[in-house]
Symmetry: C2
């Protein structure tokens, strides 16, 4: 599938690299291509990673979205709505958008709070802003290394969730999750159920602290 991954941070790189490895035709989208290529700090160093993934193209947010059949929002939560506006309503219309961002607000220090929760969610904000796009919230409840290689932990015996208004879109995303190696996908319901999975972040962050590693995941035992 032709997939655009918006966002060139660690999460975007992990997702793009793995989808490409699985045989998908992946373009990464960034606000400013020249600036992304020029970044030198180790955490956001894109050029070295890109050199190891020559089959992955880098493009503007709009060009990446325009050429894609499916789009992944891997931008930071606070930047997501602006990034998707820059990608362009017309380039996203009719397409499935996988939203893996979290509404983390670092402005008041650590641990971050959520800038939207409980009675609304980032997933819903995106769906309302892009009504012709089929938003599916998923994968926001685990670290990116496990999003894309779940079998590295307990042979994949843990859970991911999907939330979205469009049943066919959730089916397509479910197939992609299976390709990645996920064995237990729970459909929580419409996009408003993203409130629940986004609100997992505070306990996720505390668990990271308590366990000393981000390599863990929720399993719904039933």
């Amino acid at each position: 599938m032709r997939i655009a991954v918006l966002g060139t941070g660690m999460v975007g790189r992990d997702v793009a690299g793995r989808l490409s490895e699985l045989g998908h035709d992946v373009t990464m989208g960034t606000r400013d291509v020249a600036a992304t290529l020029a970044r030198q700090d180790p955490d956001s160093q894109f050029t070295a990673w890109a050199a190891e993934h020559p089959q992955i193209t880098l493009a503007t947010l709009a060009d990446a979205a325009a050429g894609a059949e499916l789009v992944v929002n891997a931008t930071s939560g606070q930047a997501s709505l602006a990034a998707l506006e820059a990608a362009g309503k017309e380039n996203l219309a009719g397409k499935v958008l996988i939203d893996i961002a979290n509404p983390l607000d670092f402005s008041r220090g650590m641990p971050p709070a959520l800038f939207v929760s409980d009675t609304d969610s980032l997933g819903e904000q995106i769906q309302r802003a892009f009504p012709e796009t089929k938003v599916v919230k998923t994968l926001n409840t685990l670290t990116s290394a496990l999003m894309v290689n779940p079998r590295q932990l307990a042979d994949g015996e843990h859970t991911v969730f999907v939330s979205g208004d469009d049943t066919a879109a959730k089916k397509l995303v479910g197939e992609l999750l299976t390709e990645l190696g996920h064995t237990d996908v729970i459909d929580l319901g419409d996009i408003s159920t993203a409130r629940g999975t986004e609100m997992l972040l505070p306990v996720w962050l505390r668990l990271w602290g308590a366990l000393g590693t981000p390599i863990f995941n929720f399993k719904i035992v039933r």
Copy 2:
């Protein structure tokens, strides 16, 4: 141990019944003893249950707390602070208080929202109001049948969390959780980590809807 369970609803009855079965000396606390005994609606019918548990005493909140070594808050979240005030600061001082309530706000319909979250929690509100009491938040992330009989699901292979400022209090609560049959107790840290576990409720409620049963629990796979 002499334990007071405050709250005579389903959660309080499940907890009191099981602690008594384990050999503890259990008193239940209620705002108005006569009113509790007179209740006739099936959901809150106390008398029939009490007849099956003659070893469990019913008392006022204050009397129950005064006679106890350890207190369990099993009142509804919105009533918790008032119920604990009625139990009495002096009757709770120096004691471990297990808080299993959730800050659910049903005033805007279903699913309920949270009346406090993200930057504060009910656990912290209680700890601030009762600084001489050792509040430990736990068991608020699963249905009461599993709180007290976790082995009925996957032989107990799932997780409960503890949050609290007092290490010795958390150790005592951990021992009680082991007695109940819990096999995996994660200490998240101080009482502010209750924000995380209280914020699990929205996804818990959606999972109940998606799975069609409350007999499930989170397991932290690591």
